[in-house]
């Protein structure tokens, strides 16, 4: 039976099958009869049938055969279609590795001439890596593989002339005949090129994803590191802040200490002065008995020097307070005109000694300013005292007061010996003396103008000097005070560093000119 399969292709062999079936029908084909025509069971005994009946029987059988043949042909055509047009390339080998069948898919893919290939040994038509180079009937890799299993799967890459390749998953399986014996091998080629390519692409994507994930993990690790570093920095910052905070507290304590020290010093220095002055005044007033003229003179000297010492103590305390920012300012509504009148009354006796005439030229409309009246009075009286000190006898000192813009200007002008231009910049510096060293003819510690400047600056104003430096032309000291009432004046005073402005000290030439015109 097997020999007829190798003589032609599937369709040709169909007729052989039909022939064979006819022969088998003649010899009796019980299964088929039973299957196809069960009612024929009744006529199984030929002895009971006469010849005409036999003929009729033959005719029926012949018709049935014809029907069966057609049915068979139809089935075979369908099988043929399925075999040839499936997506798998298929090749069927007999037990001697001769090619029994090749489907159209196989022929097309591998460019094989079907009719020429049939009957040839498989290694003449197909080359498989799976097979050893020297294959033989005894040494067939596929057969060996199949000896243990019913089916073997392997993959084959087939390179094309154009450089591309195809990948096939080949399934080799035994096939069996009617007698349940192995008739040969079917090789079924499934094109898995695209699947493999997809797989590779997926793999690549997966690799990329993995790489990206690794990179992300690295990045996360780096971020964690940086976060840790930041946290460390934060801690350090916090520590620094803590340190600064502690230092600030320390500084505040020091500040308080300094302030307390100044208060205590002030108290300790001034209390003895009170005793001295009290006793001197009592003696001068003869409350403690009669005083001779000589004693009276001595008491006056004591009193004058006590006052001088007292003023010096006051100046040193003031400078210290200004420098430490602890000077107390008491702001109050102050009418400038009235204030200048008070100053005039107080200072008239001071100018009497040298027969210096003190004059006042005030503008009619002077504002009321929110200032520390006592301190500003202290400044102006200090300027007048300076003028008296450096003026000749029988000269005039004039106090001017006027408003200009949003400022009030107060000036003290004398007819003294003037201040050389090159020294004008320095007169407001602490302990500065226009006359220094051996030439000194006038007393004073050089604190008055520095204090004056500090007080004026603390008020948001300015102080400057103008003098031609020519003897007799005198000197004019000016202060400016802002007209706008200052809110929270104590706080503002604290914020002003009154000794910091040495550099912009007296670039006031412009300003001087402005007010000179007014003069």
């Amino acid at each position: 039976m097997s020999s007829c399969y190798i003589t032609g292709d599937w369709k040709e062999s169909k007729m052989n099958i039909v022939e064979e079936l006819r022969l088998e029908e003649k010899n009796g084909f019980p299964n088929l009869k039973k299957k196809r025509n069960p009612p024929s069971k009744k006529s199984t005994s030929p002895n009971q049938i006469d010849s005409s009946k036999k003929n009729k029987q033959l005719e029926i059988t012949s018709k049935r055969l014809e029907y069966l043949t057609k049915d068979m042909e139809k089935t075979l055509t369908e099988l043929d279609q399925i075999f040839n047009n499936g997506s798998n390339a298929m090749i069927v080998l007999n037990n001697n590795f001769r090619i029994l069948r090749i489907n159209d898919t196989f022929a097309n893919i591998f460019n094989v001439d079907k009719s020429r290939s049939l009957g040839k040994r498989c290694d003449e038509v197909i080359k498989l890596n799976f097979c050893s180079e020297k294959c033989s009937e005894q040494k067939c890799s596929i057969r060996n593989a199949l000896s243990e299993k019913g089916t073997v799967e392997f993959e084959e890459q087939i390179d094309h002339d154009d450089g591309s390749y195809s990948l096939y998953r080949i399934t080799a399986s035994k096939y069996y005949g009617f007698d349940q014996k192995v008739q040969g091998v079917i090789l079924s080629y499934l094109d898995v090129t695209q699947i493999r390519k997809d797989q590779e692409r997926l793999q690549k994507m997966n690799d990329e994803l993995l790489k990206a994930r690794e990179e992300t993990e690295d990045y996360v690790a780096l971020l964690e590191q940086k976060t840790a570093a930041l946290e460390l920095t934060n801690e350090k910052l916090y520590e620094s802040e803590e340190k600064i905070r502690k230092q600030n507290i320390k500084l505040q304590k020091l500040d308080e200490l300094k302030s307390n020290f100044l208060n205590v010093t002030s108290h300790e220095l001034r209390t003895p002065m009170s005793s001295i002055k009290g006793y001197v005044q009592m003696m001068t007033n003869k409350m403690l008995g009669e005083v001779s003229d000589e004693q009276q003179k001595a008491l006056q000297v004591i009193m004058r020097n006590t006052n001088r010492l007292d003023n010096l103590i006051q100046d040193i305390l003031d400078i210290s307070r200004l420098e430490s920012g602890t000077m107390k300012f008491i702001a109050e509504q102050t009418n400038i005109g009235e204030m200048i009148k008070e100053i005039e009354e107080t200072m008239s006796s001071a100018s009497n000694e040298k027969n210096i005439s003190l004059r006042v030229q005030c503008s009619d409309e002077l504002p009321t300013l929110v200032i520390d009246k006592d301190r500003i009075k202290q400044v102006i009286m200090n300027l007048i005292n300076n003028s008296v000190k450096f003026s000749q006898e029988n000269t005039i000192i004039t106090i001017y007061a006027f408003s200009k813009g949003n400022e009030t200007i107060i000036q003290v002008k004398d007819q003294g010996r003037g201040i050389p231009k090159e020294k004008q910049r320095h007169v407001f510096e602490t302990f500065y003396q226009v006359d220094s060293g051996m030439d000194r003819t006038f007393g004073g510690a050089g604190l008055g103008l520095a204090i004056s400047r500090g007080i004026v600056m603390a008020h948001g104003g300015n102080i400057w000097v103008d003098s031609s430096g020519i003897k007799g032309e005198g000197t004019t000291f000016s202060i400016s005070l802002p007209n706008e009432p200052v809110e929270n004046i104590e706080e503002r005073f604290k914020q002003v560093d009154v000794f910091k402005l040495e550099s912009d000290n007296f670039d006031n030439d412009l300003k001087n000119k402005e007010y000179d015109e007014k003069e």
Partner: protein
């Protein structure tokens, strides 16, 4: 003497100053007593019964505030003149004058006549 009917008590920890003011008040005709700190002053107040007290604001022991608090509601009820080295703002002046018996203050170093005037003013004021 002219002010004999009035009593002035001088409270100061500085002996020279205390004696000086004491002498000055005696010369002015007041009956005087002295105390060297707040506690000393409070202990004597009942026996001496002062009309006017000159009270130094910076003494060891009790603070001025403590002295004034203890004095508050006590009999007798003397007028207190504070002797201070610091200047007061209007607000502070107001606060000081609200503190019990304080009637005035003098800033050191004070003038001889100023002290006499202030004491006289309050000693004879109703």
């Amino acid at each position: 003497m002219k002010n004999m009917s009035k009593k002035v008590m001088v409270v100061d920890d500085e002996p020279d100053l205390r004696q000086m003011i004491d002498l000055m008040m005696q010369k002015e005709g007041y009956e005087t007593a002295t105390a060297e700190n707040g506690m000393d002053f409070l202990n004597q107040i009942d026996s001496f019964q002062p009309d006017v007290v000159t009270l130094d604001v910076m003494m060891p022991g009790l603070t001025t505030k403590e002295i004034l608090e203890k004095l508050n509601g006590m009999e007798p009820n003397p007028k207190i003149i504070l002797l201070t080295v610091v200047r007061f703002s209007d607000e502070e002046k107001h606060k000081i004058l609200e503190m019990g018996n304080v009637v005035d203050y003098i800033t050191k170093p004070f003038d001889f006549d100023e002290l006499i005037d202030v004491v006289k003013k309050h000693a004879f004021a109703e």
